[in-house]
Structure formats: C-alpha cells, structure tokens
C-alpha cells in the first residue's frame, strides 16, 4: 500500500470540558476520496480543521505530505498551501472580485507576480466553469457559483489534498449539482479529497471509503456499498436509516 499523504494518529480535541475528538486515526493515500459522515456534533468538522491546524489538536499527530503539521518548527503558512479547504459558508472575500479571491494567496503566499497569478487564477476559475465570472464580486454570484469560486481559490494553489467541510449544506437544492459536478471532475483529475458531507448519492458514486463518526470517534469505515447497505454497527444503521428517510 502506498504511503499515506494524510496521516493523523490518536487525535484528541478538548473544547473546555467538551471532549470533541476521542483518539481518531485517519490515514488517506494519494488519489483517495474519503467521505466522513455522522450526526452533527460528532467531531467531523473538528477533525478536518485539525488536519490543517485551523484547530489545535489537544493530543496526537498530524502528518500531511510528509510535513509534521504540529511541529512548532514547521512553517504552518507554507504547509497550508498544500492543503486546500472549502467551507460550508464559502467564506469568499466580499470586497474582492472572483479573480481577486483566487489570486490573493497566489500573490502573497506563493509569491507570484500579478500577471502570473491572474493567469493561474483564470485557469482555476475555468476549471470550475466560471471563466466568465472573473470580474464579478461574491454578491453578484449565486451560492453555487460562490462555492465554486471558493474551490477555485483552493485548487489554484495546487494543493496535495483538499478538505471539504459540508460544501453543499448552505446551498439551495438546485445549486448543489453544479458544486458536486466540480468535485467529481476534481476527483477524476486525481485529487486526494476528504469530504464531510451528507450527500449520500455523491458518496455512493465517488467515494473510495466512507467513515462513520459518532461522539468524537470513528465507529466504522469501509467502501460506500458496505457502509450504506450492510452497516455493521447499530449506530451507523440508525444514522443511515434516518438520513435516507428524508
């Protein structure tokens, strides 16, 4: 088996008295798409956010692309370039155009000239099907378009792995498809992806592995067919039953 590109071991996270992650191990190999499901408050988002250290784990280790993310000597800002992240609420910069959103880190972090950054930025926007929206501000874009700009902002930095934190949860149902389509294309291009989402149809078609989390721990994991059709655990069964009823 190939060496994992994301390797998290024994992750714990406390928020005061709250024990949100209780010893999570997660290892993801290159080109793998790992899907994380679980009830709200189960620690899915916290797990993702520990991987790029938006959240400081209380204990454990995180190695991404050979870089020890928790080592104080690690240049965290440099390391974060390799880990793209997409958020539930898009978090586009409202005072900048789509192109400005995509090029900011290219210029300030990757050190590209304005011209080079704009070329890469336009290419990234083209990949998410928004080449013609480069000059629009987030306020002039639909939710689905905003999320695709957010994906372009992340992939423009050519990350080794992409984290998706409920990328379609804030979208109107008719806009979800366009975002999933972009994610599917990204997957086909060989991107390693870790996705927290409730889009079970997408998980079934695209995921290599599905993890079910509950109470800060991974309850079970396996290929999507196994998890969805024959969950081993009672909690997994009841959770999948609940979301499929809707």
């Amino acid at each position: 088996m190939a060496a994992p590109i994301v390797d998290a071991r024994g992750l714990h996270k406390h928020f005061g008295a709250l024990h949100v992650l209780r010893g999570v191990d997660l290892s993801v190999v290159e080109r793998e798409l790992v899907f994380i499901i679980g009830p709200s408050g189960s620690g899915k988002s916290t797990l993702l956010r520990c991987l790029n250290r938006l959240e400081e784990p209380s204990a454990g280790s995180v190695v991404v692309d050979g870089i020890d993310m928790l080592d104080p000597r690690t240049d965290i800002n440099h390391a974060r370039q390799r880990i793209g992240m997409v958020f539930q609420s898009f978090n586009l910069y409202p005072h900048m155009t789509a192109l400005g959103n995509v090029t900011l880190a290219l210029r300030k972090v990757a050190g590209k000239s304005r011209a080079a950054a704009e070329e890469l930025g336009r290419a990234a926007l083209a990949r998410v099907g928004l080449a013609d929206r480069a000059g629009h501000t987030p306020g002039q874009l639909s939710g689905g378009q905003q999320q695709r700009v957010a994906i372009a902002r992340a992939i423009a930095l050519e990350p080794r792995v992409m984290l998706f934190d409920e990328p379609t949860s804030a979208l109107d149902p008719e806009l979800v498809g366009s975002v999933l389509e972009v994610m599917r294309a990204l997957r086909e291009s060989g991107m390693t992806m870790i996705v927290v989402s409730h889009e079970m149809g997408f998980a079934r078609n695209a995921a290599d592995r599905v993890l079910f989390m509950d109470h800060g721990a991974i309850v079970e994991e396996g290929p999507p067919a196994a998890i969805f059709e024959r969950p081993a655990h009672e909690r997994t069964r009841s959770f999948i039953g609940q979301i499929q009823r809707h």
């Binding site: 390391a79 370039q81 958020f87 978090n91 586009l92 409202p94 957010a150 992340a154």
Partner: protein, 226 residues
C-alpha cells in the same frame, strides 16, 4: 427703525463684519490646522491601537481598554484644561494650540479605536479561517482581508465621531487658541456687537458642511453588495 432693521443692525452688521473679517479668517486658518492635525493623528493612533489590540496580548489590551475608556468618559474640555494647566507642573508647558490638539487627538484616538475594533471583530470568523487556510499569515489576513471590510463598516460611525470631536476645536478658546470661536468672541466684546459670532457660525458651516457631504459620499461609494 423696524424690527428687521434692528435685527440686521445687531446680528448682521456690515461695518462690524467687514472690520473683523480678517480676524475671523485667521481663526479659520487656525481651526483648519488644528482640525487636520487632530483628525490625522487621532485616527492614526486609534487604528494603531485597534491593530495592537487584535494581537490579543492580554496585559497590553487591558492597558488599551483602560486608556480608551478614560478618554471616552472625560469631557474633552476637562482634558484640555488638565493638559494646559496640569502638565506645566510636570515641567512641560504646552501652548494652548498644542494642548487642544493633544487633547482632541487623544479623545478621537479613543473613540476611533473602539470603532475600528468593533469593525475588526464584526468581520466573520470564516474570513480569517478561509484566508489562513490558504497560507496567508495573521498580518496578511488582517491587512488584505479583514481591514478592508472592517474599514467599510466603520466609515459611517467614524465620520460622525470625527466631525463631533473636530468641532471641539472651539474649546481651544478656553486656553487662548485664536481659532474661529476665539476670534469671534473677542471681536464681539471689542465691537459690542454679536455680528462676528454670526460670521463664526457661518465659517463653521462652510468648514464642516463639505466634510459631512464627503462623509456621506464615502459611505455610498464604498458600500458593496453582500
């Protein structure tokens, strides 16, 4: 003599006004100098304090909050009097002009720090997270992502505060600054006629009306669709 003539004679007396016009104009110059100094130094200091506060270093923030709250509670006049009459006993004797400038700048610094700080904290946490997740440093995020949004939010309260405090230049009369009101009131007592005061009022209108208009223009110019 009709009532109207008597009114004009008293409040809009041409001879008196013509005689004291140069004094009022020199007062206008002093007021402008004072106002520009107060606005530039006060807002700059306020922004610096707000940025310092965003570093979240507890002891520093405690000091900032203490200073800012003091100057926000004290009437500006008290600050002017304290500096003008109090500092000499510490061996420093600032002129009336410097005392007024320093006092109003400190007061504007304090109010604007609070406004800038409110602006910075009102920018959604997701903005910080998105920017940091792409590898931007704390400083870059503050400069390129948070401040531009924060400043837009702060423009309306900031223009109001700035105008209110800048009008406080009139308090300089108390410590013998020859700004508009000082010139107008000494002209009034020399001429036994309140017409110079009317000129002073007109001068304030001419000075501050454009500021209000520009403030409103900036508000609409920099508003963006969310």
């Amino acid at each position: 003599m009709s009532r109207w003539d008597r009114f004009v004679e008293t409040f809009l007396n041409g001879t008196v006004m013509w005689k004291y016009l140069p004094d009022i104009l020199s007062g206008v110059v002093v007021t402008i100098e004072l106002a520009v100094l107060v606005v530039i130094t006060g807002l700059t200091a306020g922004l610096v304090l707000a940025l310092l506060r965003s570093l979240a270093i507890r002891p520093i923030n405690a000091v900032i909050v203490l200073i800012v709250d003091c100057f926000r509670s004290l009437p500006p006049l008290v600050v002017i009097v304290l500096i003008y009459f109090g500092l000499p006993s510490a061996g420093i004797s600032p002129s009336g002009f410097v005392s007024t400038w320093l006092s109003l700048a400190l007061v504007l610094m304090s109010f604007s720090e609070e406004i800038f700080w409110a602006g910075i904290t009102s920018v959604a946490r997701g903005q910080w997270e998105a920017a940091r997740s792409t590898g931007l440093t704390f400083g870059q995020t503050l400069l390129h992502v948070v401040l531009p949004q924060a400043l837009r939010l702060t423009i309306p309260p900031l223009t109001n505060r700035t105008i209110a405090i800048t009008k406080g230049t009139a308090l300089g009369t108390v410590v013998a600054v020859t700004e508009i009101l000082g010139q107008a009131s000494s002209a009034m007592s020399n001429s036994y006629n309140p017409s110079p005061l009317m000129m002073g009022a007109a001068a304030y209108l001419v000075l501050f009306f454009p500021v209000v208009v520009v403030g409103r223009w900036i508000e609409t110019r920099f508003a963006w669709k969310r």
